[in-house]
Symmetry: C2
Subunit: 223 residues, 2 copies
């Protein structure tokens, strides 16, 4: 497959594919001559994965590259790889120094995880993300009860069980990991969308008249 065909099959402009090649996101095609290379189905699949993580998952290309580099490193076990991916797909949170509010929130996070008995590494970035959310709530003069946090945690764990249920560790490493990462990111987006839609529904029921919001209702909707 030529680069132009790769472009047509994926819907990604040639210039962008070249950019991904330069950035090391996509492996080079097999060179057949000085100005010719051929690309395989693997390239197409990889390209689709990159676009899925970038467009749908909104992951920075640098993160995607780190993940793919790990995927291509045969030394790394499936388990480690998935762990690394879980770290890479989250945002990086800057931890402030000397901040009493932060320290308090961090204590709450740690106690919560302790109570839940979850097995997570001490340096998991998501701990910081949780702490940041709690600290910010605190700073705004708001608060969440621990009971509520537990309820959220139970819901989150139930979703996580579903997330990983379909992964088959007996599958080929390549396949299991690439699709495992894609599914983790994609299902999260689906879950977020459902969450928002549910909020709208609950909001309509709780304090809404039959006619819900509309900024300027365009006449014919795509149906």
């Amino acid at each position: 497959m030529k680069i132009s065909e790769l472009s047509q099959h994926s819907g990604v402009p040639v210039a962008t594919i070249k950019y991904y090649l330069r950035e090391g996101l996509l492996p080079k095609g097999e060179a057949t001559a000085a100005t010719q290379a051929s690309y395989s189905q693997r390239h197409l699949q990889r390209l689709r994965l990159i676009r899925a993580l970038s467009e749908v998952g909104a992951l920075p290309l640098a993160r995607i590259r780190d993940i793919l580099d790990a995927v291509d490193d045969e030394e790394i076990s499936l388990h480690k790889l998935f762990g690394l991916a879980l770290y890479e797909i989250g945002p990086t949170v800057a931890v402030p120094e000397e901040d009493p509010t932060w320290d308090r929130a961090q204590r709450v996070s740690e106690e919560l995880l302790e109570e839940l008995g979850w097995q997570v590494t001490p340096h998991a970035p998501s701990r910081h993300r949780l702490t940041q959310a709690l600290a910010t709530i605190d700073r705004l003069g708001l608060s969440v009860e621990r009971r509520v946090l537990h309820e959220y945690a139970d819901l989150a764990r139930a979703a996580a069980v579903r997330d990983l249920e379909w992964i088959d560790p007996e599958d080929s490493r390549e396949h299991a990991v690439e699709f495992g990462i894609a599914m983790t990111v994609l299902l999260e987006q689906a879950l977020l969308a459902l969450h928002r839609l549910a909020q709208e529904d609950v909001s309509a029921q709780r304090f809404g008249p039959p006619a819900p919001h509309a900024p300027d209702d365009p006449p014919a909707d795509t149906s």
Copy 2:
């Protein structure tokens, strides 16, 4: 309060505050002279809200401005306002034209919402987000069973009920809305963090040895 004090209390650089003023995110202080203005607690609160939505919620400043403009518009009811906010805090999804995969995914989304009986407007952007996730899963050659989507939906709705439970519609409009929006964004971040932590826990239990992932961890690990 002078701008320098506002900066100290919020931790936001003066230059950035000026930028927010220019961009209309923060109302101007009360001018006391040609080169002097004084800022109130409301300004400080507003500034903290902006930073919370921007830093923690990763919302673009343009979105934040749109939300705040609506908050300041007394014409808009609490319900409409919250609906608008729910639209603004999600990503914008480009809808492709002429795409069979998309159309199929859209049908699944609509049928799902139909089955759930949720009351959401036909043009809710989250519908597109859900469709996009499903279409992308399809394009990668993967699939999700409808049963699983229902389970996610149930979890999402349970979380949504918690999200809105603490909002008091009898509260002052200003207070209810500003903090309602902040809480929606902040609790979502907390939920996402818990989700990731739960995934790590489940992953460790399902296909991990006692020692979970770490970028540089002891060798014992064979999957």
